[in-house]
Symmetry: none
Subunit: 183 residues, 4 copies
Amino acid sequence: MKTRREQAEWRREQLLDAALRVFAGKGVDGASVKDIAQAAGVTPGLLYRYFDSKEALVETLLAERGFLPRLRELLTADNRARPAVEVLTELLGAFDGLLADNADLMAVFFSATQARAALADLVSEGQRLIGDFLAARVAAGELRPHDTATAAKTLFATVAVGRRTGSAVDVAHLVELLFPCER
Amino acid sequence: MKTRREQAEWRREQLLDAALRVFAGKGVDGASVKDIAQAAGVTPGLLYRYFDSKEALVETLLAERGFLPRLRELLTADNRARPAVEVLTELLGAFDGLLADNADLMAVFFSATQARAALADLVSEGQRLIGDFLAARVAAGELRPHDTATAAKTLFATVAVGRRTGSAVDVAHLVELLFPCER
Amino acid sequence: MKTRREQAEWRREQLLDAALRVFAGKGVDGASVKDIAQAAGVTPGLLYRYFDSKEALVETLLAERGFLPRLRELLTADNRARPAVEVLTELLGAFDGLLADNADLMAVFFSATQARAALADLVSEGQRLIGDFLAARVAAGELRPHDTATAAKTLFATVAVGRRTGSAVDVAHLVELLFPCER
Amino acid sequence: MKTRREQAEWRREQLLDAALRVFAGKGVDGASVKDIAQAAGVTPGLLYRYFDSKEALVETLLAERGFLPRLRELLTADNRARPAVEVLTELLGAFDGLLADNADLMAVFFSATQARAALADLVSEGQRLIGDFLAARVAAGELRPHDTATAAKTLFATVAVGRRTGSAVDVAHLVELLFPCER
DNA sequence: GATGAATGAGTGTTCATTCAT
DNA sequence: TATGAATGAACACTCATTCAT
């Protein structure tokens, strides 16, 4: 037996779930509030008890369901004891999985006309985190000195575009390609 | 004095121009037929003499204004006589410029929900062309044998995401990073 | 400590107060049940324990808060001993004050589409009462015989329109104007 | 056979007619755009080719159908050669007729929450015009000096309230009442 | 070739009202 | 007694589209 509080929280999440699904399928502009409500099995009016407007719903979705936090966790884990190439391979694999798990959210990012800033933030944050990791390994003498910023961008972009365009990337090959002397 | 035929062709192009501009700014779903007509300085009704529907307009736009032809030109130019790294650097620079020149079209691709297939085609074609180029050079002994497909994906993706997220890529660094032993 | 009965009565009055305020500000159609509930510091649902519908609330408001009773008191006070002009001046002043005190209610009357009958009743009752007063004074020989009905209408209307349009009436001047020979 | 221009003008007037009728019947807030469109025998969407919004429609109605212009004509006619009382009687009769002819518009004025300023303007303009007329006659020695401003308010208000509440005023009696010595 | 009047289905949003808690 | 989740119908307004002119 749910308390009222729990029920409300559950409904909110349910609406966000439905919105994510519908937005991913039809695009933010292409999806109607009615579509979302139907996907959630409720009336359109109810949506407005939980979100001020369709726009507010989109923003909430991007803010609460963004995977930046999880990305941050992933990249800041303590892995100083392991070889850089191993960690990198694992990292990119995990990132790729993250994108796969959040394909819908990716689509929302790309379709939301006003959310470009959020998209740019996401990408640059990811690049910065990977760049920091690489720089640390260079400083430790483990990786050859090179342009870590560009390397980070390259890694991130390759995985992301692979996901976006539906052609998965062979992560092991990618790392080997970018760090050939570490064999 | 234009012939009837020329006038019609001119108006068609004008409408496509306007559509490209407006779609890029507001997204395909966010832009109305009225918006496009206004941008072209005509009445919405006129649009239907040239295109069957808004949807048909989008499809025509993607089909006729796609920059794949120009990308193909770029990559198939005869450059066997020049060093691979030099050609690659020039190539990626030109590709970056192509994306910059067609920022509007990129935005349409990303915003058009049904255009994912077209987008994937675009990307994979580009990757294939670059991949072929790299493979030829490996075969010629000029580049070290490596995973050319992944390298192509990487190059393409890095430039594209750089454009998409507004953070330009230093192409020279990128090539140097991917082909360090070629100096 | 209030009894249950008292508490209910108090809440009812509180809701009517809030409704009067909100209706006056936004008009009957322009005000929502939510607006009224918020003004009363309760939930919309609660309103339906005290009134059957929004419409019923309006009707109750008009019926219970109408100032006809007070107008009647005012005009039927025993003032046979005082000069007519003095009484009239005082009377109109009091009426003017009554309208001022009930500006909100006036606004409700004017905005409630279905309340025209009530408005007409209010006005004609007022006119009748003033008319009776004037007639009595004519009969007593204190005022010159004239059309007392028209005089009553005139007095009443002038004060009411002054209130409605925000331009107060100088009651003393008005009486002097209508009964010039009594100086 | 109507030209396009004429047809458009005709439709605009037809929509204003319908709006006036519907607003008068249901009040401005109580009437929906659909109601008005139905009354005009068209689709709601069409209304927006002629007016920017419902609010704009109300404003246009008040501005274009206001009877102040006709009131002004009435009161500024050259009547210096005729006795004041005769002119006054005719004037008030005409004004009364004007209100009768525009009963719907009166209702709109009274029901439009935001149009109070317009109402006040209407009333004060009317009062000013009658006041000027009276003052001129006083200056000419035709009427006894008295408070012409209050007299004007009184005349105007009496007729207006009579119309508003459905109880017509006997204009002749009213003039006789206010100017008894002129007989 | 081009216009713009007109439509019907849709949009996001608000509202009066109900009822389990 | 009082809440607030939920609804269904309505709202003002926009849109893609048609067609007589």
